[in-house]
Amino acid sequence: MSGDSFAEQVRLVEALLFASATPLDEESLLSRLPEGAALPAVLGELQDHYRSRGVNLVKIAGGWTLRTAPDLGPRLKLETSVVRKLSRAAVETLAIVAYHQPVTRGEIEEIRGVALSKGTLDTLMEAGWVVPKGRRQTPGRPATWVTTDRFLGHFGLAGLTDLPGVEELKAAGLIGPRSDVTLSESSLQPDLPGFAAPAEEPEEPYEP
């Protein structure tokens, strides 16, 4: 098996990617290749090969997979396609979870400056894009929300660092904890909208 030529390795990886129902990470690919195989070169070769074709090699949720070229989307219209229209609130909430995760419901409401209506997180959870994961160790121990691999897969993202503009937003201090004073500390106006946590909707009990 160690006698595999580079071309044979390319064929094998190509077949593996075609046959797998899910993205394959490099470890899984390496475990099926001969010792010392040049996986990065093989993947590079395949990526180049498929770049101009009807199917492309992409990295998604930490693994490699083949996907039809995005420009052909409208021409494919397979029966399986169900396009989900998201409300504006849902899109914003999804972005906040994606860029600020793990994030509590209260934090989402603080950023948006408005209470989250009941269905919003449900819709995102139903789509399989966000899930509750763990609790914040603050009073009330609120559940925190994160995005899923399915979210990455749906939007063709290799990982969270692949989110559009994530580096710039970090550099601008618009993502991540903020150390300076927040307005809610103002003793004069402790209950300002958006500054204090908005009136909490009755939270359903959540069991992880």
């Binding site: 593996l16 075609f18 046959a19 797998s20 129902a21 394959l24 997979t65 083949l66 996907r67 039809t68 070229a69 995005p70 989307g73 409208p74 494919l76 397979l78 396609s81 396009v83 229209k85 998201l86 409300s87 504006r88 609130a89 849902a90 899109v91 914003e92 999804l94 972005a95 860029y99 950023i111 948006r112 400056g113 408005v114 209470a115 209506s117 009941k118 919003t120 749906h154 939007f155 063709g156 989110l163 559009p164 503009g165 937003l169 601008a172 618009l174 993502i175 903020r178 004073v181 927040t182 307005l183 500390e185 103002s186 004069l188 106006q189 209950d191 300002l192 909208p193 958006g194 908005p198």
Partner: protein, 261 residues
């Protein structure tokens, strides 16, 4: 895209007759969102936004909503009150105690909130603009699948084996011995049988002829002999029959005695 109405915001969009300000509440996602939209109308970078001007515009927006008799959610009114307060803090010299944020700090924080919301709104748009699975791009429709054959290797040593056997044996050595009840012909049965026959046996007859018929020759048969013999001894002792044996290992004879009168 039609925005989803927030629960405290279920009114339809209403347009002001005048061109000066358009109030379309169904399109807003809360007071900060309104502020952000107003800020964009200033057409400057959010960092250089005039909070004073923004406060004025927002108050005008709220006033317009009032004029149109729109019922504004409490959030919007609280924001209006807070902006009026902020305005006064920005316009008047700051006589505040040191642990209170200054008007400029409050304004800077509001700017930050606007920037952060705008960043998230734009990020949402950019994420949604990416090629989406099953809309713009499709995965393999007929994956043949990768077969994973797993071979189980058990982690157990000879020592584990011997210890398990030893433990099993040790456990059973301390066990209670159960003696199964054997099916035997009892002395009670023999006594009852002999008593029934007695009185009809005036002549000597061998003990063997008193045995119940149909018994196997095995253990039950031997127990019947023993039980019947023991029963005959008991009846002889109470004077109801006589026993006789002519020689060692010879047949045992018995006959009944008349009832003592």
């Amino acid at each position: 895209m039609k925005p989803m109405a927030d629960e405290q915001f279920e009114m339809e969009g209403v347009r002001a007759p005048a061109a000066e300000l358009v109030v379309d509440l169904a399109g807003y996602e809360g007071p900060i969102d309104v502020l952000l939209k107003l800020a964009r109308e200033q057409k400057v970078d959010l960092i250089h936004i005039s909070i004073l001007e923004l406060a004025d515009q927002y108050l005008k927006f709220v006033a317009e909503a009032h004029r149109l008799r729109l019922e504004l959610a409490a959030d919007y009114l609280v924001m209006a009150a807070w902006l009026a307060y902020l305005k006064s803090r920005l316009l008047l010299p700051d006589p505040q105690p040191e642990d209170e944020p200054t008007g400029e700090e409050l304004a800077a924080n509001l700017t930050y909130q606007l920037q952060r919301l705008e960043a998230m709104q734009q990020a949402g748009v950019r994420v949604m603009a990416r090629p989406q699975l099953d809309r713009d791009t499709f995965a393999r429709g007929m994956p043949e699948g990768l077969v994973m054959v797993s071979r189980i290797v058990y982690d157990v040593s000879l020592y584990d084996l011997l210890r398990a056997y030893g433990e099993g044996r040790s456990r059973n050595e301390g066990a209670v011995l159960h003696i199964e009840a054997a099916e035997l012909y009892s002395m009670d049965e023999a006594l009852e049988r002999l008593t029934r026959i007695l009185g009809h046996v005036p002549e000597w007859r061998s003990l063997a002829s008193f045995l119940p018929t149909g018994l196997a020759n095995g253990l039950v048969g031997r127990s019947a002999i023993a039980a019947t013999f023991a029963a005959s001894l008991e009846l002889a002792r109470s004077g109801r029959l006589q026993l006789r044996q002519d020689s060692a290992f010879g047949p045992i004879w018995l006959r009944s005695l008349p009832e003592p009168s």
